[in-house]
Amino acid sequence: MHKYVLKRIVLMIFTFFVITTICFILIKMLPLPTIKAMGRDAKLIEERRKMMGYDKPIMVQYLRYWKFLLQGNMGLGEQMYSSREVSEVMFTKLPYTVVVNLYSILIAIPLGLMFGIYAALRKNKWQDHVISTMVMFFISVPSYVYAFLVQYFLCYKTGWFPLTAATREQTTFFSWTMFHSMVPAIISLGFGTVAGLTRFTRAELSEVLTGDYLLLARTKGLTRSQAIVRHAMRNAMVPILPMILGEFVGILGGSFVIESIFGIPGIGSLFIQSINLRDYNFFMADTVFYTLVSLAAGLVIDLSYGFIDPRIKMGAR
């Protein structure tokens, strides 16, 4: 096991190196926006870009980038958040994204599991049909549609919740005030997760419930509940748990639309904007961050199989 983990970590480092290298080369192949400035000194912008090393050969820039990265310096923004440190911007915004998504999945996962199990147990009965119809609806409709509806009815019409998330001036991240202010966003984000998990859980559990070993368990004298909890759920969770872990990884990604609607200053828009605006440092910082997170998550998910089902041996031939 330890050998397997070590091997995976070495491979992770290699993969990380390859991805960041490719991304660095690709983004540098996109030219910086042309300097157009009425009545201003275009040469000054060129000089500032030179100061950031953008005029140097790409290999020199690449080595320079690694040198700074290993020192924990991700550089300064040029096209976005001009002259601000990239890492400072990212880590200022990241907590908002993490908190709202964390709340969302902590609520969505039990609900998704509950509806999925219930639908599987009531398969092809009216309860199952109602849940399946709702699932299809919530999977098909984009989250921003719920977001506007939630905002209009729960925030504007009834006034139960504020229109936008609270600030850190008013409260801390893990306070009731912050949670209360984020409820509309949490609900909007949660619909999709609940629906997805419900559908997946129902499908997996339905399949397991028809297994011969479950019939054997019942004939051994286990009650239906005991058979489901001890045998069916355990087997069904093998594919479900990685999906849940994947949701946790996804909380770092953020949602540009939901964040913009509910005034959450998260990182949902950073990546795409860094490409559109061609801010090299922001793009690379995003790439490094998400690559690391995804690789680590992949490893954790793989290892989780072994914990869920001891029959699955990681690294065994």
Binding site: M80, Y81, E85, T164, P265
Partner: protein
């Protein structure tokens, strides 16, 4: 059986008849694969028509028509420029900073990627938003006492600027007899930082030194050496020890230069000249000539001397411009006819080197006279100084202890966190930054140490205690927050207008921006996509006339109004009177002429005002006539051969609004083509491209929406700076391929015809002095003339520019916004320079407590 035979026979006959019928159809509408047959049929038909009718003669298309635009009479501007109003509005007694209740102004901004309010580095409106509250200025433009314009009041200055040019004769380039080049500013002795420490002349000197520090490369440094108010010696200090190489773009001929002792040519300033061999040049589209030579070899060039020239080249790809080197160079580009250049084109490869000596602050025109007096010495005299000195004198002030602590150099790169958090901010304005959370919240509170709250000169002002600005990206969210009473102002979008257009709480803020359709007219670039028809002037004009701008503006903008000219109503040609260029008779006449509206005894309208009001820019009949003419011209010159053409319209994204705008324009184009040879064959194609500006700058699209604006009080520089500087996308001009050096314009100036290119006229209006009007005709620099003269010259050139239809103005931008019933600005109508009066004069009907009590119960 017989029946079957008969039936078979009938069916066979029917099949034959059907086949014959089909053959006939094929002849009349042959598919593309039958093109030769189809051509033959059409050819016969045309021959028949030719026999019975006289041959129609089509005037060939003219790419760059010449213009003779009439006469102007010039007048030199009077000294000082004019009278300035110094009588400011006093505000409402009691509704000011002395009011003991608490008033919060709740504002919002949409998300912005820039938030750096370092006074030496700020870039965007969001950055300056913070600075506007936490800084004061030397002189402020505020509402005048009649509430119909502006007045100037000293703030950080104690009195008005004094011309002390005579004291600097022999220094900073000031010559005997010069005036308006040195200005003495006496500082207000009560000004302090927000921490209560006094601000003196030393703080200013330190800050200006930091601003111009070559090692820091501060983004605002060029404010001191570019533009109209250039500080003497500032650029030399900033570029100290460096040599700057600039492509002359053919503007300097060999005859303008003299050979130095080493044989290298220099100009009158001693700047050395080079041949740009491996140096990016406009002549080679931003690439180097060496790149072309390496790529195409003897297909286009004579290679005999290339090796020798390469050996002469320095690290910058430059070869000293000497007679010998030029003799070696000339055959490379002129000997091979395929490159199609002669010796007259050689200056396009000249590069000038401008060297700056080691910096010495004593040569920079910012001088401390005493602790509370500073002199600013400019490189050029300031025209109309009563207005322009207060207008142009900006404050760049940083708090030395904090600035020194925060500045760092990493691997040669300067960085500072000054002005990025509350802790790294030191203001000196009426408010101080109290809370800042990136992309979330900005809060200002009253700066109790601001001199204005104790000098007795600001009574009746600044009733606002707290300014709370939320960052809300989604406009729909902001509107809901406004309706709930959480915001005191909100911008509206097009779909909101149906509900709020008639609200008494709506305010319209005009902007200086005119949005246009910009056309690519470059023959080669268009040919690459098969859209050469766009290069035809009549085609572009026809398309323009087919667009109903009023409907467009009403349908797709919140508060935009139909646009017809290069400049909108925001542009003021006479700062002393505030007279709008667009409202002047000469400017109105321009648009009447461009859009074919006549007035006077023989015209359709009695006077110019009626005619101007009647302009719609929409004339479908004329559009069709021009489109047919364009069709014939394109057929005649071979740029169109009845094929289908899709003209690319590149837009930022494919969201609904852009799709609707595209559909509108596509319908307009198709309408113009109806009944012409282009009918059914020409259409638009929408491409979503976030880099559409860049795409146009490289000539890789046909049409984009483009917008230029700003500098509403300096309208005349805009023609060169934005519309005529470079046809190849290397400048600001977006109209790719439009070569303004080829547009001949004749203006009769004081009885003398002067014919120069549109670009030359534009450069003169850009206050450049190396133009033939000054050098050959002996005219004064453009800024020396009075407002009426300048307005008249600009109008002539605007007419010429618009008549080329390389872009089509679509709408003038305005912002519609709602202001809450909590309070109101001093005036309801937007006024130049002072808007609605700003936070200075904002007064309240409700304090915070009363407002909370009624929240959400008011109707707009």
């Amino acid at each position: 059986m017989n029946f079957k035979k008969i039936l078979a026979l009938v069916l066979a006959v029917a099949m034959v008849l059907t086949a014959v019928g089909c053959t006939g159809n094929n002849t009349s509408s042959a598919p593309e694969s039958k093109a030769p047959e189809s051509s033959a049929v059409e050819s016969v038909a045309e021959s028949s028509a030719e026999e019975s009718q006289p041959e129609e003669v089509v005037d060939p298309a003219v790419e760059y028509p010449s213009f003779n635009v009439g006469e102007i009479t010039t007048n030199i501007a009077p000294a000082g420029g004019g009278e300035v109003n110094y009588n400011a509005y006093k505000g409402v007694a009691g509704k000011d900073y002395t009011d003991e209740k608490v008033y919060t102004h709740n504002e919002y901004m949409s998300g912005n990627q820039n938030m750096n309010w370092n006074p030496l580095q700020w870039e965007t409106n969001s950055d300056s938003y913070i600075l506007d509250y936490i800084q004061s200025v030397f002189y402020d433009f505020v509402l005048n006492e009649d509430l119909d314009g502006w007045a100037i009041i000293p703030e950080m200055a104690a009195e008005l600027p004094v011309d002390v040019t005579a004291e600097y004769v022999g220094k900073f380039g000031v010559a005997e007899g010069d005036t308006a080049k040195a200005w003495r500013i006496k500082l207000n002795e009560n000004i302090t930082w927000q921490n209560g420490e006094a601000i003196t002349a030393d703080d200013f000197i330190y800050s200006y030194q930091q601003l111009l520090d070559p090692a820091q490369k501060n983004r605002r440094a060029d404010s001191l050496y570019a533009g109209d108010f250039r500080i003497a010696g500032a650029k030399e200090y900033f570029y100290a020890g460096q040599t700057s190489y600039t492509d002359t773009e053919g503007s300097v001929a060999l005859a303008d230069l003299t050979a130095g002792e080493d044989g290298q040519y220099v100009d009158s300033n001693g700047n050395k000249y080079y041949i740009g061999f491996a140096f990016p040049l406009a002549q080679t589209g931003g690439d180097t000539l060496k790149d072309y030579i390496d790529a195409y070899g003897d297909t286009y060039f004579d290679l005999e001397n290339v090796e020798a020239l390469t050996a002469l080249m320095d690290d910058n790809g430059l070869i000293p411009l000497t007679d010998e080197n030029l003799a070696l160079f000339a055959p490379v580009t002129t000997k091979n006819p395929a490159w199609n250049e002669t010796e007259a084109d050689l200056p396009n490869y000249f590069v000038v080197a401008e060297s700056f000596e080691e910096g010495n602050w004593d040569n920079v025109g910012v001088v401390k006279v005493d602790d509370y007096t500073i002199d600013f010495i400019t490189a050029l005299p300031t025209e109309n100084p009563n207005y322009y000195v207060p207008y142009n004198l900006s404050v760049y002030l940083v708090y030395k202890p904090m600035y020194e602590e925060l500045k760092t150099f990493t691997d040669g790169a300067f960085t500072t966190t000054y002005g990025t958090t509350v802790e790294t901010t030191m203001g000196f304005g009426p408010y101080k930054l109290d809370y800042f959370e990136l992309d979330k919240q900005i809060t200002f509170t009253r700066n109790e140490n601001w001199y204005g709250y104790s000098d007795g000169k600001h009574e009746g002002m600044y009733q606002t205690d707290i300014i709370s600005c939320a960052v809300i990206e989604a406009q729909a969210t902001a509107l809901l927050a406004f309706e709930k009473g959480e915001l005191d102002e909100v911008n509206l979008v097009a779909q909101d207008m149906a509900k709020y257009a008639s609200s008494q709480y709506i305010r319209y803020t005009p902007q200086s921006y005119t949005t246009k359709l910009t056309f690519n007219s470059d023959e080669t670039a268009l040919a690459a996509r098969g859209t050469q028809i766009l290069g035809n002037l009549n085609f572009r004009k026809a398309f323009s006339l087919a667009i109903d701008r009023s409907t467009f503006a009403a349908s797709y903008t919140a508060a935009g109004s139909a646009g017809y000219g290069m400049l909108n109503y925001m542009y003021v040609y006479d700062p002393f009177t505030g007279a709008s260029y667009r409202d002047s008779d000469v400017a109105k006449a321009v648009l009447c002429d461009v859009y074919g509206i006549t007035y006077g005894p023989d015209g359709d309208y009695d006077d110019i005002d009626e005619a101007y009001d009647a302009i719609t820019g929409y004339d479908l009949e004329q559009a069709k006539e021009l489109m047919e003419l364009a069709y014939k011209q394109c057929k005649a010159d071979g740029t169109y051969n009845d094929q289908n053409v899709e003209i690319t319209l590149s837009v930022y994204s494919s969201d609904d609004t852009y799709v609707q705008m595209f559909n509108f324009l596509n319908d307009a184009l198709k309408s113009a083509c109806e009944g012409t040879g282009f009918e059914g064959k020409v259409s638009l194609k929408m491409v979503a491209d976030a880099d559409y500006y860049e795409t146009m700058y490289s000539g890789n699209t046909d049409i984009i929406f483009s917008t230029w604006g700003g500098a509403a009080y300096s309208p005349f520089t805009l023609l060169y700076e934005c519309y005529c500087d470079a046809a190849d996308g290397s400048g600001n001009q977006m109209e790719y391929g439009f070569d303004s050096t080829k547009v001949e314009v004749t203006i009769n100036v004081d009885g003398k015809d002067m014919t120069y290119s549109l670009q030359d006229w534009a450069r003169w209006m850009d206050n450049q002095v190396d133009v033939p009007m000054v050098e050959t005709e002996g005219m004064q620099p453009f800024a020396s003339y009075d407002a009426a003269t300048r307005c008249a010259v600009f109008a002539k050139c605007e007419y010429v520019y618009l008549s080329n239809f390389v872009n089509t103005p679509m709408y003038y931008r305005n912002v519609g916004s709602l202001v809450s019933q909590k309070g109101d600005y001093a005036v309801d109508t937007y006024l130049d320079l002072v808007g609605f009066g700003g936070i200075r004069y904002f007064t309240y009907e409700y304090d915070d407590e009363a407002w909370t009590a009624q929240m959400g119960n008011l109707v707009y």
